[in-house]
């Protein structure tokens, strides 16, 4: 096993991607994500990889599409406004069944917004990434170690289901340092994707990677086939951590940075004798419906805690489906909620719970 080291979240993303056999990075600098690109620019040339700073996010994602279509493990990283610029390319990747990794180290929005941590891109990541019927895999780590672990999961599942995967981080997780054990490095695998447009050398049929289908029936059947894969993913790959949830009257649903603040609030509330726990989604798409639904059978109230004006709360309400009240607490614009604020919400809700 590798030695435990202290690493910034952003640098750990880069090193974990390299360990997962990624040798192609295309990106454009933006705070608070820039350390990912900076780290890659130093490391990639030393390991026979490609680091390319494109002229924009639009160019970056199209380079990702090109490299991915050729069958190599490829990634980009950016922060919120950058993902908006990449939207068209992400839709093309999804429509061409090309896997890749997109990292979003979220900052406050909308517009140029700010540069402090945020979770206001939940809807963008899970629902409205771009035009057309499609999904991408979305992973939401809450520690630097989990970020590292999910990078390889994202690559592997993206490859398995031939679709883009996103790791949704934020400025806090990207900038902070925590102890981390990096995985054993894997060699790049550039040859196992039989569909890749990597040059047939007159040894096999011509592969075409494309998202343009003029015939509606043909396009419809492709989209339907893709949704059958999505159903399989929703069945098999929901991930969530349960924290003190089994006996809880109040269940907080929170992911990433806000789940850490919530955890502190839960520990404080438990000391006051309040039965509160947490479901922490690790995959945001597929959303961990099963575990939330299970706990909706015994919990008396849910509280979605987010660094946004309330986005994931919609999904929690869909799953809870009116069985018990689902409340929301959030801060936005780059403001991080405090454990005290969340504790206040827990106490308030507990006052109404019998």
């Amino acid at each position: 096993m590798n030695e435990k080291v202290l690493m910034k979240g952003n640098e750990a993303i880069a090193e974990a991607a390299i360990a997962a056999g990624c040798r192609h990075f295309f990106g454009y600098p933006i705070t608070p994500q820039t350390e990912v690109a900076a780290y890659m620019s130093k490391r990639m040339p030393k390991i026979d990889g490609v680091y390319l700073q494109a002229e924009s996010e639009v160019a970056s994602i199209n380079m990702v599409l090109g490299a991915g279509a050729a069958g190599v493990r490829v990634m980009t990283s950016t922060s919120s406004p950058g993902v908006s610029l990449m939207a068209e390319g992400i839709s093309y990747l999804a429509g061409s069944d090309v896997p890749c990794l997109i990292v979003n180290v979220q900052r406050g929005g909308p517009g140029l917004g700010g540069i402090q941590p945020s979770q206001a891109d939940y809807h963008q990541a899970t629902k409205s990434t771009a035009h057309g019927d499609f999904h991408i895999l979305v992973f939401a780590p809450s520690t630097v170690q989990e970020t590292v672990d999910l990078i390889s999961t994202a690559f592997d599942l993206g490859d398995k289901y031939r679709m883009p995967a996103m790791v949704l981080s934020d400025g806090m997780l990207g900038q902070m340092m925590e102890p981390v054990v990096l995985p054993e490095p894997k060699e790049p695998d550039n040859d196992s994707k039989e569909w890749a447009a990597s040059g047939h050398q007159n040894k096999r049929a011509h592969n075409v990677v494309n998202s343009l289908y003029i015939n509606p029936q043909e396009l419809e059947s492709l989209v339907i086939a893709r949704y059958e894969r999505y159903a399989e993913i929703e069945e098999n790959h929901q991930m969530a951590e349960e924290y003190l949830a089994d006996d809880a009257d109040i269940i907080i649903v929170a992911y990433g940075s806000s789940s850490r603040v919530s955890r502190s609030a839960i520990d404080a509330a438990r000391k006051q004798g309040i039965k509160v726990g947490m479901i922490r989604p690790i995959t945001l798409w597929p959303f961990p419906k099963k575990v939330i639904s299970k706990h909706a059978e015994h919990a008396k109230a849910f509280l979605s805690v987010e660094m946004s004006m309330g986005q994931m709360v919609d999904d929690v309400r869909l799953v809870v489906n009116g069985r018990v009240p689902v409340e929301f607490y959030g801060r936005t614009g780059g403001v991080i909620p405090t454990p005290k604020e969340i504790l206040g919400e827990i106490v308030r809700i507990n006052g109404g719970v019998q």
Partner: protein
Amino acid sequence: MTDLNVLFAGFGGQGILFAGKVMAYASMMEGKELSWLPSYGPEMRGGTASCSVCISDNTIGSPLVVNPDVLVAMNLPSLERFEKDVVPGGMIIVDSSIVKKDVSRTDVKVIRIDASKIAEDNGLKGAANMVILGRLFRETGFCSAENLDLGLQKSIPAKKINLLENNRKALSLGIES
């Protein structure tokens, strides 16, 4: 000791983030759970730089220190901004070479250390951060002396290894202050 939440604050360039990093690395060598979170963005340029370090035997929740057990204030704006947030019974360590104003809190332990002057008098200009960290180590015992030294070694990049001895010396001056 189970939990220790420390907020380091001062001007950009005083080595605020580095002091936090040495503490974080030393705590890792000690086998603790820890997190290190810097302020980032424009506020670091000339304004107040700060960093939160959390150490615990258990999983770290919020890595942002809102109510520090220990506040290290290396300039006046930092003291004025964060003094009120220190937990009752906590500690405020001030670089008294730079901060002339008294700490107004009476429910915390106040340590005024002439860190910048001590560093400068010993030919260690710029190492006031390590003098203060040395004192913080003595006051809290957040790790063993061996792990503090290991933490320092791990925090200095290979290219700057020539600075190791000066930082060691500054740490010792703080411990003995």
